[in-house]
Amino acid sequence: MTAERIKYLGAALFFAVLIALPFVFAAHWFVNLMVFTLIYAGASSAWNLVGGFAGYPSLGHAAFFGIGAYLEAIYFTHHSIGDGWLPFAALPVIGVCAAVVGLGVGAIAMRTRADVFAIVTITFLFVVQTLASNLRSLTGGSQGIGIKLPPFPPDTYERPYYFVLVALLALAVGVNMAAVHSKFGPALWAIRADEDRARGVGVPVTTVKLLTFSVSVGIVAMIGAVWAYYLSYVYPQFAIDPLLSVGIVLMAYLGGRTTVWGPVLGTFIIVPAQQYFAYQLGSSEFYLIAYAAVFLVIMLVLPRGILPSIADRIRTGATKKTAEPVPDDERVPT
């Protein structure tokens, strides 16, 4: 069996377990926690395409999350397309809309590099937030929009959202894997390592990075739409939250950006811990301090992430030749 097949089998097994999970542990608090974990895992995984592989650390993904959430909510207020499972059918349309917006945003933002790019994208986030509060007739301003509660049976209320989110996470991870195992992958690491040289040797840099950005934000927007439907309510500060942008980046960093499974691993550690802190510390102020402290410790102790650190440990253990870690720019994602 090749290493590649083991990877695909592992992925299949992981998603099979995820699908079985709510049948084994049916408690509401647990499935609810898993829904939020999946929201972040999908978003972080999608972010990884552009922030990890291509080396463009976007802080604007929450804007697209919000765009997806608002599209879902606005669609609801203007068209009664029925309830229950039907609203999920709007997801592909929402994803494509956000991807098109992403192409435009990327075309401007990606003229800048790494650090300035991060700032431009977070500025875009504030632009979208202002739009959401100012376009009152469309978005309801700071009041937000409510969505009619769907008639899912109370006992298994979370499950439809849960399964749709599992599918979206599978999509995000699938795109990551496809990128790694196709010509697209090497093009992305070339851009991350040295964009000018990549252009010089004939990598279609602009096309590759714009396409990556728009696929990435399209997936995030679909997740935002499911989130809006799950909470049945959106308003600007909540749907377009800089904390989400930075949260998914933190999760990717913890697990190991530039790896397929790093963001997922990071999320499955941080979100439950986050919920535990929020539950234990209650009031949001202490929660903020705790979150900031954890955040700092992760960045200072494990700046490379868990999976790359383990990979180095294995490599140096096996060869015993060198303890020199591979610089991130030269790392080939696994």
């Binding site: 080396g55 650390p57 802080l59 401007i108 933002a109 003229r111 800048t112 590099r113 790494a114 650090d115 300035v116 991060a118 700032i119 431009v120 977070i122 500025t123 504030f126 632009v127 202002t130 739009l131 509060s133 100012n134 040295d194 000018d196 800089p242 930075v246 980046v249 933190l250 960093y253 949001s284 102020e285 202490f286 929660y287 903020l288 301090i289 979150y291 900031a292 402290a293 955040f295 700092l296 960045m299 200072l300 700046p303 610089p327 991130d328 720019d329």
Partner: protein, 292 residues
């Protein structure tokens, strides 16, 4: 026409205050390639310190700067030593965004625990006084604030231009490696530079607290403006950040005459248009490789 000129005056006065905050931000980037997302939180921290000195001890907000700037200078040096010094070279810019964001969250958390979430405002006796010059009304506080900001900017400029420390800073900005070879202690320069950035935040915070009401969460609004200003002016250029701040002030207050809710938004549009034409900002040098 009267309204337009009045708006331009207001915009320039506001711009002066933002210029001070933004110069700290851009200085920190210039020296260390650190994008300081905590600059807004430091300004708010400065505003709260001034608020406490004013309400508890009755110290005039403009006078309290003499106390708050040294304190905040220390806070800045502490933040730099604890959280930023250990970042690996090569990835500093990216990691610093996350680390300083965590610092901002921590400051926000501490402030909301200490002062609760209600809005505060510093109201000295002259808060509502104003002059009338040639038929145009000029708020006294805004005028003092702008004059003070420009004076401090002048002092900062002189410090960088004419002192030995200033030469060390400029050498570090141009080429950290050569600066080290020539005997500049770049670690100290970085710590002092971050301290200076925090000190400008303290002074700007006092002024901000007199002009606007604020709460622990106000730093989000501030940081989005500050980032836009320094990007517009060109990261690392203090002159650019002054021009950027003035542009922001004037554009926002002109648009506010017609449509108040769109005032902030209009500036973002200006920023996007400038980036479309000049990705490095108005006065930014083209970095050979932005990632190093």
């Amino acid at each position: 026409m009267h309204e337009v000129i009045q708006a331009i005056i207001l915009g320039l006065l506001t711009g002066g205050v933002y210029a001070l905050m933004a110069s700290g931000q851009t200085l920190i980037f210039g020296i260390m390639r650190v994008i300081n997302l905590a600059q807004g939180a430091l300004v708010i921290l400065g505003a709260y310190l001034t608020y406490s000195l004013f309400t508890q001890l009755g110290i005039d907000p403009f006078l309290s700067i003499l106390i708050t700037t040294p304190v905040m200078f220390g806070v800045g040096v502490l933040i730099q030593t604890v959280s930023l010094r250990r970042l690996r070279h090569g990835e500093t810019a990216q990691l610093s965004i996350l680390v300083t964001y965590a610092v901002a969250l921590g400051i926000e958390g501490v402030l909301s625990v200490t002062y609760s979430a209600t809005d505060r405002a510093i109201q000295p006796s002259y808060a509502n006084a104003s002059f009338t010059v040639g038929g145009y009304e000029i708020s006294a506080v805004r005028l003092y604030a702008c004059v003070l900001s420009l004076a401090l900017l002048g002092a900062l400029f002189a410090l960088l231009r004419y002192t030995k420390f200033g030469r060390a800073v400029r050498a570090t900005v141009q080429n950290p490696m050569s600066a080290r070879l020539l005997g500049v202690n770049t670690e100290t320069v970085a710590a002092v530079g971050f301290g200076l950035g925090a000190a400008t935040a303290a002074a700007a915070g006092a002024v901000y607290g007199v002009l606007y009401s604020f709460n622990a969460g106000s730093h989000y609004d501030l940081i989005s403006r500050l980032l836009s200003i320094v990007i517009l002016g060109g990261l690392g250029s203090i002159g650019g950040s002054v021009i950027g701040a003035m542009t922001m002030g004037v554009v926002s207050s002109l648009v506010a005459v017609a449509a108040p809710t769109w005032a902030d938004f209009s500036f973002f549009i200006v920023l996007l248009v400038v980036l479309l034409v000049r990705p490095q900002g108005l006065f930014g040098a083209t970095l050979r490789d932005a990632r190093t």
